[in-house]
């Protein structure tokens, strides 16, 4: 069963009417309804508030990393474990092909349904997850595979074991190593880009966002609790933090917005996957025009050039 948010109720109604019309073989009515649907989609989704976009970014029907991996990769093999502690299933790593192109994909994976949510730790990686990701990234470098990273996490896991095994170091090490990893790399925020736990796989030649994804230093809930001292100011915090793809491209903090279908990845998984695949392929083609030195220098300048200050 698809889940519809408050502002999607009209779309739900029209989609149900289309099904009814199709069942009755009333193709004329179905045609009219489909046009109405297009109109309603562009009306609804072109004017979403930041808070509505946050809801879409976390929508339970939104594709997760594995959905994209299954739609995009051929002849794929999963890479498991950090070789030290255990295999963290909140991060998945796959080698395979996208449109004939060899590729390494690293993704933060949320689970669907209680059992899977627990298995995937709600998409909150432990240190060994980030260390597995780094191992996969190093493999990509060694064998010259372009690297695609899919970000979707509420944040790195805040737990006893995570701290004991040095969550800070796992994240920091990835930031350092990925900043100089010698292969073409693209990081895509596909849903929720939660703070350092997202950034740990967000250092690449290009950092981009799906249309309805969010990326923020702290969750709006956390920000509301800390800065407003009031857990109900989530919508205010969402607005203040400027977390949508449109906000962040305007601030020049991300490189591109991926052209996710207007109706949202949660209603058009295939369209969303194709948009990621197309973007990735054209990005690595563009990046291959540069020599290794040029590419790494460009990445370094981009990473170290971020900041808003007066002098």
């Amino acid at each position: 069963m698809a889940t519809y948010l408050d502002f999607e109720q009209k779309i739900k109604q029209i989609q149900e009417d289309i099904i009814t019309a199709e069942v009755r073989h009333d193709s004329a009515a179905a045609e009219i309804l489909k046009k109405e649907l297009d109109k309603e989609v562009s009306k609804t989704y072109k004017n979403l508030s930041a808070y509505q976009q946050l809801q879409l970014a976390r929508h339970q029907d939104r594709p997760y990393a594995l959905d994209y991996i299954n739609l995009l990769l051929e002849d794929k093999y999963e890479i498991h474990g950090d070789r030290h502690f255990r295999d963290d299933e909140a991060i998945v790593c796959y080698m395979g092909y996208i449109a004939g192109e060899r590729v390494m994909v690293i993704g933060e994976q949320k689970g669907r349904g209680t059992k899977n949510k627990l298995k995937r730790n709600f998409g909150m990686p432990n240190p060994e997850g980030y260390r597995k990701a780094l191992r996969a990234a190093k493999l990509a470098e060694k064998f010259n595979l372009p690297l695609l990273m899919l970000i979707d996490t509420p944040g790195a896991y805040p737990g006893l074991g995570a701290e004991e095994r040095n969550q800070s170091e796992a994240i920091a090490r990835n930031l350092l190593e990925l900043s100089q990893l010698n292969t073409q790399s693209v990081s895509v925020v596909i849903g929720e880009g939660g703070s350092g736990g997202a950034l740990a796989i967000g250092v690449a030649d290009k950092l981009v966002m799906m249309r309805y994804s969010v990326f923020s230093v702290i969750s709006p809930e956390g920000c509301s609790a800390i800065l407003w001292n009031d857990p109900t100011k989530v919508e205010s915090a969402t607005n203040a933090l400027k977390i949508t793809s449109q906000d962040l491209i305007k601030l020049d903090l991300i490189d591109d917005i991926i052209d996710e279908p207007l109706i949202g990845a949660h209603r058009d998984k295939e369209g969303a996957a194709k948009a990621i695949g197309d973007y990735f392929l054209s990005a690595i083609r563009e990046l291959r025009e540069l020599s290794d030195e040029e590419r790494l220098e460009k990445r370094y300048k981009r990473l170290t050039g971020v900041g808003a200050y007066a002098e």
Binding site: P158, E163, E169, A172, V203
Partner: protein, 282 residues
Amino acid sequence: MNLLDLFTGRSEAKKQPTKSEAPSHWIKCPSCQALMYYKEVENQNYVCPKCSHHLRIKVDQRISMLCDDNTFVEMDATLKPVDPLKFVDKKSYVKRVEENVKKTSRTSSVVSGECEINSIATQLVVFDFAFMGGSLGSVEGEKIVRAVERAIEKKQGLVILSASGGARMQESTYALLQMSKTSAALAKLAKHKLPYISVLTDPTMGGVSASFATLGDIIIAEPGALIGFAGQRVIKQTIGSDLPDGFQRAEFLLEKGSIDMVVNRNDLKKTLSDLLKMMLGK
């Protein structure tokens, strides 16, 4: 306490130095509760003479304690925060910065510059927890990157003393991206085989802990310092139980293999210069 005191609001507790007059006269050790004349504590660089508890120390004293006399030259002091997001919570970011500038006479939670530590020329970066909780924003990130670049140019080592609650929320994604900014610069420093010593002081948390603070060739912590990625309240909420004693303290991190040493503040200068000397081959 007599009854009159109770009614007039005067009590034993109130006769003791209040927080605002404490610095001028008396300091109470939060660990052993000993009440000490401030000069005595100051002379010990705010290490309790009774129990060795490390109290927070002002940045100026921290710098004079580490650097040879008159060798510290502050750099990039003119960098100032702006408000790229027009951020307003209960207060505006602009207002908060104003208040903190007034309070600390600085425009940033980072003081950076060049100095000599037992005659070894070094790039030094010190966090001031008094400025917005030592939070990491654009100015702080830029100062760190410039210190790294000076270290490379002059073939010197880098020492960063952290004291921070993490990334500055009011700068949102700008603040978050200072983590990758500083880490990328440190990758470059490492390529030049120049030493970076990270000193973790109380507290070093969140985005600071999860970037440059944890990337030292050598990581030193002050005794008892709280160091970690996630805040204790968040962890407690997540796991639904109390935290073990000493969790996320310097000694805990040493035991878990996360840091190299726990060093008393009064031994820090010698430790730094000894290590820099060895790593630089001087």
